[in-house]
């Protein structure tokens, strides 16, 4: 095998370096805050405005309905 030229070593080093930087950056991009809530925990109560500016209290449904809370990222994006 031919010895690697100095230039190609630099290229390889730079590639490896950028892969490391890429991996670190990818980690930064996914700062996910996983919920500590789990099945069996009480759902924290909340009061929020709905899309008709009406206040919704989670506690109003206690004893009446099961509630599905679907947290989505942003309106007008894919769910």
């Amino acid at each position: 095998m031919r010895r690697m030229s100095f230039t190609s070593m630099i290229v390889v080093a730079a590639l490896a370096g950028s892969m490391v930087v890429g991996a670190i950056r990818a980690q930064e991009d996914v700062k996910v805050n996983h919920t500590s809530l789990k099945a069996g925990d009480m759902a924290p109560d909340f009061t929020l405005l709905d899309n008709k500016w009406k206040q919704i209290h989670l506690s109003d449904y206690r004893g009446k309905k099961n509630v599905v809370l679907a947290f989505y990222v942003l309106a007008f994006t894919e769910g």
Partner: protein, 101 residues
């Protein structure tokens, strides 16, 4: 949706959008359930699902897509984090199994 209503459940979508944006979104996609506005991210923090997103080198925090099913006693029955669009099938399955009364 009909399945969820049949299982005695109500559905709320929640995001950090304003009520006005959510209303326009609701009309566009034709949802029949309310979309709630957590503009100050208070509920996202309480539920521990505020996620940092890096967009063009600036950081923004929005919700991690998560679906919670809460029973009539206020107890969480299931927690499901989703990678892509919200899929209601699991929530339907959980609600259907919950006691009717």
């Amino acid at each position: 949706m009909a399945k969820l209503e049949a299982s005695d459940a109500v559905v709320f979508g929640i995001s950090i959008d304003s009520p006005a944006a959510n209303n326009a979104f609701a009309e566009k996609i034709g949802v029949t359930f309310p979309l709630l506005s957590d503009m100050n991210r208070k509920v996202l923090k309480e539920y521990g699902i505020l996620k940092m997103y890096n967009v063009q080198k600036e950081e923004y925090d929005w919700a991690q897509r998560t679906t919670f099913v809460v029973d009539k006693k206020g107890v969480i029955q299931s927690v499901e984090e989703e990678a892509s669009a919200i899929n209601p099938n699991n929530a339907v399955a959980v609600c259907t199994k919950l006691p009717k009364k």
